[in-house]
Symmetry: C3
Subunit: 327 residues, 3 copies
């Protein structure tokens, strides 16, 4: 038997969010699957098979700080990752539930590298964070990492329905990181509605700072023959004031279009979200830090809290403080 490694991340803190309902109330909360970093406990292992080959696996569970609950209500014990694979030198072939190609590609140019996962916008929903039944290839060629995936839909008689396909590439050389990915997703049979998503971005390090910018674009066919479009832009700066203290201002914008009504009508999907974030972290150690975040959203039309109704909130602010402990 092997030495299985147990690892994880546990985030505990408080978050105050304004305008959470039509009355404009605020809510103070602790319950979360991780405000700064997603909570997880995982089991992983690698077996050297000789000749540059290895067998490896990861099983990773997400949970809620405030309640200890699993991070989903659909019985997915290892919802965060359940994948097994073979490595061949700098290549790997992995099967199971795992992060998408688009997610891994964007990681290189998200200002927060996916911290504040429930707040920041860098992984647009429809490109997906993870796929079920995913066959994924990763190959590293010098500064280039290339990825391709095909996630089965498992529909009888229709290999397109429910499937997801993507390719992505990252380039990392010294201070420079670039990346781009293209994803196609297909809805349920028999219509197999198609969503197309692409993203591109980069980051550059200079001294104690790192600047990251990104863009993502998506066009989704929807049930009533309507396309919904989304564009996301983001830019952020990590600045290390000292070895222990880092501040990160960042800005994200989402513009959504589509729907059948005029802008602001209940049937319109048109909307805009502008998100301003400012984070400070203090590292007690490499594994434990303190974080503080303030963010402000401005929301238009369909992207307001609660949607198009005029009474709904068009602004929201979070203040969050807590600690994150890696194990």
């Amino acid at each position: 038997q092997t030495a299985v490694q147990i690892y994880g991340s546990f985030d505990g803190g408080l978050r105050q969010t304004t305008n959470v309902d039509a009355a404009g109330n605020s809510r103070l909360s602790m319950g979360s699957t991780g405000t700064y970093n997603s909570n997880r406990i995982g089991f992983k292992g690698v077996e050297d098979l000789g000749g540059g080959m290895n067998g490896h696996f990861t099983l990773e569970t997400g949970f809620n700080t405030g309640t200890g609950a699993l991070n989903n209500a659909t019985n997915q014990l290892f919802e965060r990752t359940a994948a097994v694979g073979l490595g061949f030198g700098a290549n790997s072939l992995d099967l199971g539930r795992q992060y998408t190609v688009a997610f891994k590609t964007i990681a290189a140019y998200d200002p927060f590298s996916y911290k504040y996962p429930g707040i920041a916008l860098a992984v647009p929903a429809t490109a997906g964070t993870r796929y079920n039944n995913d066959i994924q290839y990763t190959g590293t060629f010098g500064p280039v990492t290339a990825r391709a995936e095909y996630a089965l839909g498992e529909v009888a008689g229709d290999r397109t329905a429910g499937s997801n396909r993507a390719i992505g590439v990252n380039y990392a050389n010294g201070p420079l990181a670039l990346g781009g990915a293209y994803t196609q997703r297909f809805g349920d049979a028999p219509t197999d509605f198609r969503t197309k998503h692409w993203t591109v971005g980069g980051a550059y390090k200079f001294g104690p700072a790192r600047l990251a910018v990104g863009y993502a674009d998506q066009k989704a066919e929807t049930a009533a023959g309507i396309d919904t479009t989304n564009k996301w832009y983001w830019v952020g700066l990590n600045y290390a004031i000292s070895p222990a203290v880092e501040i990160t201002p960042a800005f994200y914008r989402q513009k959504q279009g589509g729907g059948t009504g005029a802008s602001g009508a209940a049937t319109s999907l048109e909307g805009k979200k502008d998100l301003y974030m400012l984070s400070v972290t203090y590292a007690f150690s490499k594994r434990t830090n303190f974080y503080a975040l303030i963010d402000q959203s401005r929301l238009d039309n369909a992207l307001r809290v609660g949607g198009n109704a005029a009474a709904n909130q068009d602004r929201q602010r979070d203040i969050a403080v807590g600690i994150n402990h890696l194990f």
Copy 2:
């Protein structure tokens, strides 16, 4: 990465309970989340941050011996504990789902130290065993341990609704242990009904024996403007016949009042429960023991098996034997 410690307790045995239904039938069962000691498997770790400071966490799952099922049907994977915290010398601040202050306080003067958790009465239901979204402080000052907690209700616009607050103190010096705690709990908005609970007790060791006595008192506002009152008294003696064998006789009484009807009426909450327990344990090692329990309850009115109806059972007896294995 750290060395995560895996630990737990696994209880396997048989329990025969009389008068489990209106016909007076008995039931023989194995399925239980632990008859002598609650079943659990947990993961915990501590990281030394220097200067007397540490980061620490616990994730603990409960399960059923007979079926392997999770100890709850509400998806709470780490229902027993999910808490992360920082230690500062003899002080600790912990966030998450965790044991309540009242529970930890009473542990010092429960005859069974919470063994036989489904049978003994020392942790009255409404003071709670654990809270979600709990912020808890623990400080040790020589023989005194002080605790305070505030568990968020997370209700928008109402920080009282659903919240829980408690303070407690324990004193331990040589053979003597004393403790007391006060708890306030608040129900759902908009009524925020309040429950007040306090407890006090102590234990004293003399030679191979330890005597423990305790009292708890609770007054709960209920929906129809009715207060329900409960008082619990208990006393027990642990006696080590030999290093491996211990017997524990104990007595618990619960007196309940309230409701709108006369005593014995369906709408009355008045009732009484007297519980006599006698346990014997034999330690194969520090980690594995054999246990045997016989207990007898006398139940009046609303506390009868099934409640006030005259046909319901006013006595119940358990005989339980099994092994408990710690890992």
Copy 3:
């Protein structure tokens, strides 16, 4: 505290199955709790208690490769095994959810030793793979292993309802392995319908080959006063072409009888299934292998895909390839 061992098996692959619906469609799938070997992650430990005695436990979780989901929707976190026991020399007494006596007995003469668990037929459904609330004795006497179990029904006032009882014996000496088991199961109160199941079989090793043959027979009372009968026959040959490569051809037949209608009628349970399997495995190491399977079923009447309706499929073929990684 003890050193808890973490162990498991993770299977990732693809399976193409024909005739999965009335239209005769095929389905390509990855999602599975393990095609070649059941997916699991487990925690186990043994404590030496001295004098030939030990305490031991196992907690084992099953999961789906494609989704990371738990292997059941009924909250059974340790559905695969949750058992604690004491060992006394070559004897063991175990309590909890665990493999049945019949299952353990047949393991000695199933050609695949329970590989391809969702495809091969060697563990007939009603004798059960595991029981809840099971008390099981195992004793080894030279070449003989004897087992007996009683799984509680936990029904008040009726110790027969829902209970399961079985005895089994295995003989293993040099190249020869033999076994047989008898099981009685009882349904819900008040009828306590009884199922009787027995099985016998053996295996013989000669050089690089092992031949395994088995038989199982079952008669089940059903709700309408109807007996359903089943007979299973199987034979298979494992042949090691080289130390790393093994091929296994096997044949399984199930014959079912019962129901109230004539053969082929909707109310008839009469049916037959013939299953031809051919598996090849290549071992990268002792822990990681590649597998490929082709199998073909011929199905008659009530055992057709979808049952008795004439339109339903009477043939089905699987092609499966993948890797299995033990940890």
